[in-house]
């Protein structure tokens, strides 16, 4: 029956979604309630004293003005610094689409039912997309609760954009993980490939930011993290071409996964 895999996948995932969401929300809340403890102009002066590569490592480019605001502090302290953490959840979920169940033999049972491989992939993919939305919504709630508890004045609109911009980023990482699992077959190989991809992208983004104005700067453009820059989002709001890029590439990777998974042996 259409939708059965989607519903069951969500039933099996909602607890992890809530757990991850609460954990990340608590972290966001902590950063927000710390805002009144800092003078933002002092913060700007402090940041100006840092060498570029240190700023790059915490996700900050050369434009420091934007970070000398309450929203900038939250963007820098949570959304910029936690980029790698945000990649972990979609990798875990991406591995669950095929790799985990293929590795432990459950896929044999599932695919012996009247359901196509494509249906399994698509329904699971969208169930985990919903769980990503759930995690991000809980993060947003954490920011809101932190602002309320710490009596922090925040530009809600801008922080909403920074928060929900995480969704296309995380969906992209999950799609990349799904593709790695569809191609590599072996769970550990897929995990290794996607971990290398995420870490390499993070390093390229860092190099790109640290080497602004040099020949190494373009290296950052090949990193998917570059297109989730909290500072830029605070200044410009949703950057639709970037969001469209994440979603278009996710769709391409979903189609490539379907193509590959439909044609290979399962569970060997």
């Amino acid at each position: 029956m259409t939708g059965a895999v989607f519903i069951e996948t969500f039933k099996q995932t909602w607890k992890q979604m809530v757990g991850w969401g609460i954990g990340l929300a608590a972290l966001a809340m902590l950063v927000v309630v710390m805002v009144p403890l800092f003078d933002m102009q002092d913060m700007k002066s402090l940041l100006e004293s840092f060498p570029p590569f240190i700023l790059a490592m915490i996700g900050i480019g050369s434009d420091l003005e934007v970070f000398a605001t309450n929203e900038g502090f939250v963007a820098m302290g949570f959304f910029g610094k936690s980029a790698l953490i945000f990649a972990v959840y979609p990798v875990v979920m991406g591995m669950r689409i095929t790799a985990d169940e293929e590795d432990n033999g459950i896929m044999d049972v599932l695919l012996s039912l009247p359901v196509s491989r494509a249906q399994v992939l698509v329904e699971k993919f969208f169930a985990y997309c919903i769980s990503i939305v759930g995690v991000v919504a809980l993060i947003y709630l954490g920011v809101g609760i932190g602002a309320s508890l710490g009596n922090v004045d925040l530009d809600v609109g801008r922080l909403t954009e920074v928060t929900f911009y995480l969704i296309p980023l995380m969906v992209f990482v999950m799609a990349a993980t799904m593709l790695a699992a569809a191609v590599a077959r072996r769970r550990m190989v897929a995990l290794g490939v996607v971990t290398a991809f995420v870490v390499a992208s993070f390093m390229l983004q860092t190099i790109g930011l640290a080497a602004e104005g040099t020949v190494a700067e373009p290296l950052g453009t090949v990193s998917f993290f570059t297109y989730y820059n909290a500072g830029n989002i605070l200044q410009e709001g949703f950057i639709w071409p970037h969001i469209a890029g994440y979603l278009a590439l996710s769709l391409v990777m979903l189609l490539a996964s379907l193509y590959r998974y439909e044609r290979r042996d399962v569970g060997l």
Partner: protein, 310 residues
């Protein structure tokens, strides 16, 4: 008649790997399973039984050849086929954090007709004495197997494909399993069952296929397989096996694998009894016992290559 076969496999080969590291798991396998029969698929580990089943279920793709189930292509029409089959894998894995009943509901929801399917699952679970309220991770391997059987049978499929179905089941449940299989067949449905438990195959199967190194060595009815031309003969002599009798028996062309220990002699006899009776007449025979070959003997005969000419 191939046209009416439930399973029709033609020239099916499966080769894993490429070049020098390739392994022929199935070699031009041709096999038909007829409606309403319990077909036993016998072979040791690595013979290709599970590979055959995985091709039938479209989990793996053949290197060449074809397989149809209910006249439909196993690959192109797998979803339609799966609507009508039940499957129990040899190594069963299920969702650890879900209870037996939650797993049943999930599988039923994928199949559709949830209410009727779950009701039948409850009846099967009661018959197999399975507690479906426990989480899968808390079930013993035998109880997991029972849950697997429930899932395979709860929607009243037309064909059951079972890979080593009684692994881990206690003897009482095995008996229930045999009853279920007979009832299933009596409804005109078909079972394709892989096993290395020969007594099980002997007890429930109508026909048997013997697989060796991916090659189907023989397909016979269980009766025909058992009715081969050799017997085991045990003779007990008063005061020990006389030396001249032993020598006479050893020299008989129809006797092989002769063993003598104390008063007892054991041998394999192929063909008529008369030469043997004449040879033992020189001694005082206290007891004479003739043993039919077990399926295991036949199995070994096929594996040694001897049975191929039988």
């Amino acid at each position: 008649m191939a046209a009416s076969s439930v399973i029709d496999i033609k020239g099916l080969s499966k080769i894993y790997g490429r070049g020098g590291n390739s392994l022929v798991a199935l070699d031009k396998l041709t096999l038909q399973v007829q409606p309403g029969e319990i077909f036993g698929y016998l072979g040791p580990n690595g013979a290709g039984k599970t590979t055959t089943i995985r091709v039938l279920l479209d989990l793996i793709r053949p290197s060449s050849g074809s397989a149809t189930i209910f006249g439909m292509d196993a690959r192109q029409q797998s979803v339609e086929i799966h609507q009508r089959i039940g499957f129990l894998p040899g190594e069963l894995s299920l969702w650890q954090g879900r209870s037996g009943m939650q797993v049943i509901h999930y599988v039923a929801s994928v199949r559709g007709d949830i209410k009727r399917t779950v009701k039948q699952a409850e009846e099967l679970a009661a018959r197999l004495k399975l507690d479906t309220s426990k989480k899968v991770r808390d079930l013993s391997s035998g109880n997991k197997r029972k849950l697997g059987l429930v899932i395979a049978m709860m929607h009243s499929p037309d064909l059951l494909i079972l890979d080593e179905p009684t692994n881990g089941l206690d003897p009482l449940v095995q008996q229930t399993f045999h009853e279920l299989m007979h009832e299933f067949r009596d409804k005109g449905k078909t079972v394709f069952l892989s096993s290395h438990v020969l007594s099980e195959v002997q007890a429930i199967c109508d026909r048997v296929g013997i697989l060796r190194d991916g090659d189907l060595k023989a397909v016979q009815t269980v009766d025909a397989l058992t009715n081969v031309e050799f017997r085991w003969v045990h003779v007990q002599f008063r005061g020990g096996v006389p030396a001249d009798v032993a020598q006479g028996l050893r020299s008989l062309p129809a006797v092989s694998e002769f063993q003598a220990e104390g008063a007892n002699a054991r041998m394999r006899l192929q063909g008529d009894f008369d030469p043997l009776l004449r040879a033992i007449a020189a001694g005082y025979v206290e007891q004479l016992h003739v043993e039919e070959p077990t399926l295991e003997d036949i199995f070994l005969a096929y594996y040694s290559g001897e049975g191929e000419s039988a």
